[in-house]
Each structure stands twice: as C-alpha cells, then as structure tokens.
C-alpha cells in the first residue's frame, strides 16, 4: 500500500492546528469497537463442504469530528478459533495467506467538514450500490482514495469519489484490483440523490472505470404513509454497464460490461412486521454479484441466494419479517425469504432458495444472529445449506 498522494494530508492537522488544538482534538476523540464471534457452516454433499469459527471485530478511533479537520483510523481482525475445514471458502480469513488470521487497516483517513459538505481522503469504508463494505463477515471491504459528499441544491446531494486501490474482505493488501478485475487507473463515481418531490427519492450513480467497465444506476423509491404504523412502498432500479476496458470480462459473475438489470420492489410495513415482493431481470450476460467491491445493492438479495448472477437470471423474491414484543430480555426478530431464480441462458444456474433468520438484541450493543439458507439447484449442482451464527458486542 502506498500513501504518496496522501502525504500532505496526513500531517495537515498538525500544520493547520496549533498544538493545543491538536491536543483538544485528541482529548475529545471517540473510540468504538466491536467483538464478534462468527461460526459458519457450508454444508455441501461434496468435498467442498466447509466450516470455520472466527473471533474478531474492530477498533476505531476518531479525533473530534466536530472540528473542520479530523482523523479516523479503524482496524479489523478475524482470527480462526477451533476446528475448521476448507476455511478459505468461508471468506472469513486471509485468502492471500492460506486462510490464516486476517488483520487489516480498514479506515485511515483525514476528514474535512465544511458547511453541508464533507471530504475524506485515505482508506475508506464505503456504502454505494456497486462499491461498499459488505459487513456480512467480520472484516469488510475497504477502499483507498477520496470521497466527497455535499449539497448541490436544497434537495440535491452530490457524491464524487475516486478510488485508486481496493482491499478485498479476504485480504490485507490494497491492490489495483476490484471484485470484477483489475481497475488500472481507478474508478470515479458520481452520485446524485434528489428528494425534492414529496414521498419520492431519486438516486443515480455513474461509475467510470475506463480500464474495466463503467456502470450507470438509477433508482426511485416511493413511500405512501397510510398512518403512523402503516406504510406502502414501491421501488424500481436499473443497472446498465458498458465501455468495457482492457480488463473487462463479459461473463464475469461479479461484473462485466454487459449488465442490463431491472429490479422492482413493492412492500407493506406495519408496526411489527413487513413483507415485500422483489423482482429482477438481468438481460445481460454479465453478473453483478459483487460489482466493484462488496455486494451489489440489488433488491433481489438474500443471505446467499440472489438475482445478481450472470447469464440472464430472472428472480422473484418474497421477503418478510416479524418483530416480537420487547421484553426485559430484549427483542427478537424472525425473518423468512423465498427465492426463485431461472436463467434465460443455458449456462446459468436455476435454483430455489429458502432463507430464515432469528436475531435477538439483548440490548442495543449485544446481539445474537442465526441465519440459515438452503439453495436447491435445478441442474447437476449439489444443493447447499448455509448456517451462520453470529454473536456480537459493540461499544
């Protein structure tokens, strides 16, 4: 990892603030952490059967974020504990080093707070549709570059990011490589979020990656509030990629230059339960499973099953969840998802999937999360059961 472009910025707080200011910024700093125990079993009727247990979490420190300039650093670690089999398949550890323990610097940035705008430079955790941190393991993805977010008009938020290197969630090294392939000169993202129409959110992103492929995304979210406890929602999203560069692979399931996906979601949310019907159709050959990094934010996403694959999958997904009443022991949530995927290309995988989870929050900082999913393939692929048990404590 090279930080040459960031050199001036790392020490800028020292130059921009007097020593007393620095001391105060650190004295008013905050620390956050998480301890997570993750047990993962991938049950396949073949030699690909895998399981592993991991203990880890993160430690994050930020100087006073109310200052114009501030700094933040975060480390994640995931350590194997107990017995395991094919643990590299669980994506919990460092797959660059024989699935040994993984310790990474996931955030190290200088932030600048302006009026309605913020600029971060360094190692970043992101949350955009095609570049995000994917927190479904212990160690997330992270990105090196800059991220600017600001208000362009009263109702319009603009994001401008440029990413030069990416660290996978199974690596401790920042590389010029995304989940879909090498990125060469990097990825530049321009995003808009318009909230000027009542009950309607309009979102659009454009990822410009000349050496890989570029992607356009548009999404509209409509909410109809019936009363204080009942809500109807409807959303539509569209992904389209093209301009394949020298590193683009059209058939890549994580992303290529032929993504052409439409997704629709309609749902109803009550006080303690919700149900949504999600649909997606990818008319392209390229998949969009991980996009440039993380997990792509497509409506048809379950724990493992999804409609983001390659070879023109059409997916229906019914999602529902129920919140149990709050007790002195905390609150539980039960969820169920059914997925039906059929591909329009003979090279794709057809499957049905059942997913359920039980999540119990003892307090806001302590939770136990049990997730199970069964994938039943319609071709010669063997069926798979996935079980994740995740206990976490945050401070």
């Amino acid at each position: 990892m090279r930080l040459h472009p960031l050199c001036a910025l790392f020490f800028s707080p020292f130059f921009l603030m007097a020593e007393s200011g620095i001391t105060e910024a650190f004295a008013q700093g905050s620390v956050h952490g998480q301890i997570k125990l993750f047990s993962y079993d991938i049950d396949k009727k073949s030699a690909e059967d895998a399981y592993a247990n991991a203990l880890g979490g993160f430690l994050k420190y930020s100087t006073d974020t109310n200052n114009s300039f501030y700094a933040s650093v975060r480390f994640h670690t995931s350590q194997p504990v107990g017995s395991n089999k094919n643990k590299e398949d669980t994506a919990l550890f460092n797959n660059d080093k024989n699935a040994e323990s993984l310790t990474v610097n996931s955030e190290a940035y200088i932030g600048w707070n302006g009026k309605n705008r913020i600029l971060k430079v360094g190692n970043l955790m992101l949350n955009t549709p095609m570049m995000n941190d994917d927190r479904t393991r212990i160690v997330p993805w992270s990105y090196q570059g800059f991220a600017y977010t600001g208000k362009a008009t009263r109702d319009t938020k603009v994001q401008l990011y440029h990413i030069s290197q990416i660290r996978s969630h199974t690596s401790d090294e920042y590389k010029k490589e995304s989940a879909s392939g090498k990125i060469g000169s990097g990825i530049t993202m321009l995003g808009f979020n318009y909230t000027g129409v009542n009950s309607l959110d309009l979102i659009s992103y454009y990822y410009y990656a000349p050496d890989l492929y570029s992607t356009f995304i548009a999404q509209a979210d409509y909410k109809l509030v019936l009363d204080s406890e009942n809500l109807l929602c409807a959303s539509v999203q569209y992904f389209n990629s093209g301009n394949g560069g020298k590193y683009a692979e059209r058939k890549n399931k994580n992303g290529g230059d032929d993504i052409d996906l439409v997704a629709v979601k309609i749902g109803y949310t009550a006080e303690d339960w919700m149900i949504t019907l999600n649909y997606s159709q990818n008319f392209g050959i390229s998949g969009i499973v991980k996009g440039y990094g993380g997990l792509s934010h497509v409506f048809t996403t379950s724990m493992v099953a999804n409609g983001r694959g390659n070879y023109k999958p059409e997916t229906w997904m019914l999602k529902s969840s129920y919140d149990f009443p709050l007790t002195k022991w905390g609150q539980s949530e039960l969820a169920f998802t059914f997925t039906n995927t059929r591909t329009k290309d003979s090279r794709g995988d057809d499957f049905d999937a059942y997913y359920m989870h039980w999540r119990h929050r003892y307090k806001t900082d302590t939770s136990l999360f049990v997730r199970y999913e069964n994938l039943e393939y319609k071709n010669e692929k063997s069926d798979v059961n996935y079980l994740r048990i995740i206990a976490s404590y945050q401070f």
Partner: protein
Amino acid sequence: MRKNHYLSAVTALFIIGTSAFAAEKTEKVETVKLAGDSLSVSADADSELSANAETIAEAFSKGKVKGLLRYGAQHRDSSYFTIEDSELFVPRGKVQVYSALGGYLGYETAPLFNFSAGATFYTSNPFLGNNSQERAGLGGLAEPEDHDQDSYNVLGEVFLKYQNAEHLVKVGRQEMPNYRFVSLSNIRMTPFTHEGAIYENTSIEDLKVNLAYITQMKDRNAEDFNGMVRSARVKVGRVTDANGDTIKTNIRGKYNPLDYIGDGEYTGSSKSMSMLSALYGQDNWKVEAWDYYVSDFVNTVYLYAQYDIEATDFWKMTLAGQYANQQDIGDSVAGHIDTWFYGLKAQASTTNGMVFFAAYNEVSYNEDSYDSGTLFVRWGTPQMFNSFQVQDSELAGTKSVGIGAQFDLGALDILDSTVIRFRYADYDMPDNLLMIDATADRTEATFDLRYSFSKDQGFGIFTQMDGLSIQLRIAYDDFRTDYDFDAYKAIHGYELSTVNDNFVDARIYIDYVF
C-alpha cells in the same frame, strides 16, 4: 573527517557544560535508564490501578484508549566491500532506507472485579521516499521477498488481565516492557510483543517477583508470532571452502540439521521461554536476578546491581554492574552454548539535567560456543551498557568502552523542550588471525536529539510523553578495514565474503502519542 566530528562534539560539550554550571536549578528531572534504549509504548505497566466498573457495559464505556501516530524514517549507508581477491576491495555501496507512517491503536476495558481485557493493533505503511526492495533490511516495513517494502497490520496485543495492589496476572499477546532481555526494542515503527502469561507479585515491601511463560513473540515488522528459538535469530551460517566442504557454521557441537531446512534459519518445533526474576531495592541501591529458560535451547542468567550516591545536593553518582551467562540446555537445538558478558557503568547526574557516563563491557570469546560466544539478545532490547544505536556489544569477544553525556537544555535554560545526548564507544573485537570468528574493530559515535511540544524540560531521549515530539538520531560507525585477509585465509582455509566499511545511520521519529 573523523577529527571534525570529535572537535564538534567536544566544542558542543564545552559550551553546554559552561552554561550548565553557571546557574544551578533544582527542578526534578527524569533519571536516565542505564541500559536498553527503547521508546516506550505502553503506559499500562506503570499505570495506577483504575477504579472498578460495576457492569460489563461500564467496563467498556470507561476503558482507556492508547494511540500513537508515528512518522519514522531511517537511512543507513552500509558500504559493503566485496572481497574479490586478497589485495583489492571492490566497493558495492548498499543504501538501506525506509520511510513510513504508522503506529498503534489500543483499547483496554476498565477493570471489572479487577479483571480487564485489551487489544492493540500495530501498523506501518510506506510513506514518502523510496522504499524499494533493494533498500530493505532495516525492518521498518514488511519486507517481502518478491516486491518492494510494504505495509503491515498486526494484532499485537489481545489479553486478559487481573490486577490488584499486589498481584498482576496477564494472559495473551501483550507488550512486556520491563523484563530486561524480554522487552519492546521499540526502535523502528512498532515494538516486539510477546505471547504468553505473566505474573507479578509486589506483596513483600521493596521486593518484586516476576514470572512469565512466553510461547511466542512478534518481531518489530512481522505479522506472525514465532517461537523463542526462531525469534532469537539462530542461523546455521555455513561457510564452505574451495572443495565445497562445510568448514564453519555458527553452530558448534551437535545439532539436528533437520531443524534448519531452507535458508538456514531455525525451522524446528516451536520452543517456549520460562522466566523468573526477583528485584529488590532500597532507597539508594537495588539488585536484580533474572533467569530466562528456553527449552532445548539456552538458559540465560542475568544479574544486575545499582548503587546511588547523593554526593552533593547538586550531584548524584550511580554505579552499576551487570553479568549474564548463557548455557545450552536439553536437546541443544543450536548446539553448544557457553558464553557470558559483564559490564560496569558509572554515571554522574545533576539536578539541572546533565548526565555524564562511562561504561565497560566484555563478552566471552569461546570457539566451542555458538558463533564463538555471541550472546542471544533478540527477545528484547539488548541490555549491554554499551549497546548503542547500531552496535549492541553482544558479539563474541567484544571489549567495549563507552562514554557519553546528556543535556536537558530546557532545565539548563538554554533551549526549552530539547534534550540532546552524545555518545562514543570503542569496540575492540577479537581480531587475532588465529581466531576463527575474528572481525574488525570499530567505533561508534552517536548524537540524539529529542524535542517535545508538550514539555519544557524533565524528560529524556526515550521518555514516553503524550503529545507531539520529534526525535533525531545519528550514528557514525568507523570500521578498521586493514585486516590481513590473505593471512587469515592461509590459516583458516576460506575467505571472508564481505566486510563492512564506515557508515552513517540516521533516524527520525515524529510521534504523536494520545
């Protein structure tokens, strides 16, 4: 050139000394450590007991964070001379450099029923400068074999601790700053940390007893923990003659070659260290006895004594002695080891921040011992009084004399927030032609400067201080290179492959500690 160095140093000492005696001050200054230069990293060992939390949530919310942001860089102009024949030296300049940004971030919970837990991440990242692969070797960054120096991140501490007024038990990965031969050696970007269990007892007044069982340790720039033999940097170090026969190794006596597969480093089963020590002190004297037992490898006994004399209200004298003995034990995985060293040191300090010292160290020369008696010191900061910036005075047969002076310029009313130190040592090495491990005599002159943005005075070159500070260090190593290699080859049957020439080692640390 060398005369200019000496002249400058003497002139500076004279000017400072003249100023110092002009006005006496009585402000408290830090007592300078007599051995073991290392930046401190953890306040934990010396911290007062924290108040107990009442719930787990409170233990986490009232915990303490420790952090360091460090820019560190080092440049060493190591001009190796490759000997192509007995008459001609062919210079092959080798510059070693790293320039890095890193530090650590750690968190320890507040104690709950006297139990607490903690974890610390350490990191170092290439930053500015040329950190190419051919410039590697100093250990400030990761040094992979197949590409340039690179960043590393490591979970160096993760521990569970029990502590009350008299007992301390700590289990897991941890910094062990105060166990002499086992310590931090924090002179690059991040320190050594060790894995194991410790117990410290202070229930008897003036006596401290330490017990430790250490299974592994992490090198300064490593991401992995290794056993205590590999961490001691044991190497076969074979030398072959013109017929291809191995005629010399570092290892003497019987050993198992299967323990040294590959590049000659120890690859056998991991060995742990058991450590026991007792420290007893009164107002003006203290004695220490330490034993480090690495199973099937080596046992180290270390004795230390120190006596303070309040000569006047202004002057304080300190006399100290040290002795260590290393013997192989058990399966003797590094062959026969039978060596020792001793040292004597006299130090005079004043209440206004001046320190003058002189020390002598001698190491055994025994060709039946590993590397003819070189001591194993790589579990921490070398403890020899004449362990300077580059030379550690641990090599076989070294007889060293060192002198130095340190000035707290703030306390002396010369320049606030600044401490400087000058040192000079002469290392008389075993260089008789008949000696199989003969090596060149050398001298080292060093200059250190520490500037603090948070304290005006009362600190030393290696004092842990919150806030911003800058440390500059420079050493000039002068090697005697007029050795008779022809005669040596005639006696021992093989050639030395390289010999050092003079070099300069320069370092800078810009630290912000919070």
